[in-house]
């Protein structure tokens, strides 16, 4: 008879309790702004996990991944705001106001469709060539969003779309403070819990996919595409599936972003964002879900830590701000990447296989 509770179970419940308390603790210690930062960190984690499927599992280097985030965000921006009244005044006099929970799956599908759209012409490309094409794709989407305000004002161009409907859960708006069991939950807390649930779902899906027949086939393609196809893997379909699955994660994250922000504009979807997400995957440990989450948290928090820490520190030391936190961020970031490539080439928290592989290599060196 087993009376002992497994340690992993205890760890899980402790983690869950910590995460549930996190917004309150953060709010009390650091201020409400940091809860908002935590919300964004989770959006980034979802993006990084989506990209991890494409890059980490299937080995397809995608430098335009943020485009799928943009597609998801604009899906909700267009269908959940008064904006379309400008383009089609007679058809939608007050704009389209579809409920968030209807838009979400549709946006995921649209983003997945865009994933296939990007995947189909690039099936024969690998490595650097694929990276260039995906980079171009990411830019095309952004430039389209920037310029589709004429002749028909679809995206409102660089001004972006504002007044997007807040997300409602069971008819409760997440945009205002709600009282549940006598506890006041401000908007950022409510979004925190919503995003936490979605992040958990995305982690669950990632894990299930990784340890499945499909996940193995993706890894086979990553390792050797010719051998994979000789073993009967339909590389075309599975690569498209990887692009579509990754894009769907991006689309979901984008939809949540649009509802949370209430405003989207093309500048949120620059190449730099794609690179940030890719860095989260690489820094954390490509192919390892826990590593990717760690990378996402670190890189999402870094600029904020610098912004809130560096300026006061410089003020205290020198009496004025010598280095702007934004440029310091790039400096530190570059340094961190170089250091990582030198000392931890497989990432901060490498996947099981990669760690073993490095261990054995070291053992071999010692002999």
């Amino acid at each position: 008879m087993k009376l002992l509770i497994q340690p992993t179970k205890i760890a899980f419940w402790l983690l869950l309790a910590a995460l549930l308390l996190l917004p309150f603790v953060t709010d009390a210690l650091l201020g409400r702004g940091w809860v908002r930062i935590a919300d964004f960190a989770m959006l980034y984690i979802m993006l990084a996990l989506g990209l991890n499927i494409v890059v980490g599992l299937a080995g397809l280097l995608d430098l335009g991944y943020i485009a799928f985030f943009a597609v998801g965000a604009y899906c909700y921006a267009l269908t959940g705001s008064p904006h379309l009244a400008l383009a089609f005044p007679s058809l939608f006099p007050g704009g389209v106001h579809l409920p968030f929970w209807i838009v979400l799956p549709l946006a995921a599908l649209v983003a997945g469709g865009f994933g296939v759209l990007l995947g189909a012409p690039t099936l024969r490309l690998r490595g650097d060539y694929l990276a260039i094409v995906t980079l171009g794709f990411g830019e095309i989407i952004r430039i389209f969003l920037n310029n589709l305000n004429a002749p028909l004002n679809l995206t409102n161009g660089p001004q972006g779309i504002s007044r997007i409907d807040p997300i409602r859960v069971a008819d409760v708006s997440l945009n205002v403070t709600q009282e549940i069991f006598g506890i006041a939950l401000p908007s950022v807390h409510l979004y925190f819990y919503l995003f936490l649930a979605f992040t958990a779902l995305v982690i669950f899906i990632s894990q299930r996919l990784e340890k499945s027949r499909i996940g193995r086939a993706w890894m086979a393609i990553r390792e050797d595409e010719v051998a994979a196809s000789a073993m009967g893997i339909n590389t075309r379909n599975l690569k498209l599936l990887a692009f579509a699955m990754g894009a769907m994660f991006g689309g979901v994250s984008g939809t949540l972003f649009a509802g949370f922000q209430g405003f989207v504009s093309p500048e949120s979807f620059s190449l730099m964002e794609s690179i940030m997400v890719l860095c989260m995957v690489v820094l954390g440990g490509m192919g390892n879900i826990a590593g990717v989450i760690l990378g996402g948290v670190l890189l999402a928090l870094l600029p904020e830590v610098l912004r809130h820490g560096v300026v006061p520190l410089q003020q205290a030391l020198f009496g004025k701000t010598l280095v702007d936190p934004e440029s310091l961020r790039m400096l530190l970031f570059g340094g961190a990447l170089i250091a990582m490539m030198l000392y931890r080439p497989a990432g901060l928290w490498p996947s099981r296989v990669r760690r073993r592989e490095l261990d054995t290599d070291e053992a071999a060196e010692k002999v």
Binding site: R208, R216, E357
Partner: protein, 258 residues
Amino acid sequence: MNNTPPLLQLSSIGKQFGGLSALSDVSLHIRRGEIYGLIGPNGAGKTTLFNVITGLYQPNTGEFQFNGKNYKACKPHVLAQVGIARTFQNIRLFANLTALENVMIGRHLRSRAGVFGALLRNLATRNEERAIAKRAGELLHYVGIEKPGQTLAKHLSYGEQRRLEIARALATEPLLLALDEPAAGMNATETENLKALLQMIRASGITVLLIEHDVKLIMGLCDRVAVLDYGKKIAEGVPEEVRRDPAVIEAYLGGGNE
């Protein structure tokens, strides 16, 4: 045995790379249950022919018939599906995956779970996964890899890597197992083990096509042999005959300068 139609029938296969004719008018047939050898000097077109049969190259002319059906310009995964499995001259394992995972990937074709199966992990999927892992373990044992299945493929010894490739190919349940120089770089003991393994595979009912440089292995193992030279078939028959064929001797030793 001669009455049954051959498993693989090639009819005037030709393949050009630009102006270079790598294969011209090659016809041959492989009977069910035999070990068929393909030999020839370097650059004779053996591997090209192999790549045509396994779908890596599309032939410019000719067609081939496998298990009673015609195939032309098929993708490798389609040919794997109908029962042609192969290994590679320069080993192409999934190097950073474990030995077990390598063989499990070979089971991809013969299993069905898709995205929904993976997400729901329902009873059928769990059973299938268990069966895949079990079969993969058996195949590792079958080819004589006794290291733990969790060893990365790239950390296996050279001979084990060759055998792992065979196990991975067998996992696809082929009718025809095509091996591209499986004994290359092996020492005498490893070659002997390989020979025993190939005989065991044939005994289990799988037809074997073998490209090999090691003439001794070919002669001792193959039922019939074809010799390629400059992209043409110059001889075919039982090993003893082929060995004495003047055209073959000339191809291997070069024409005399009399």
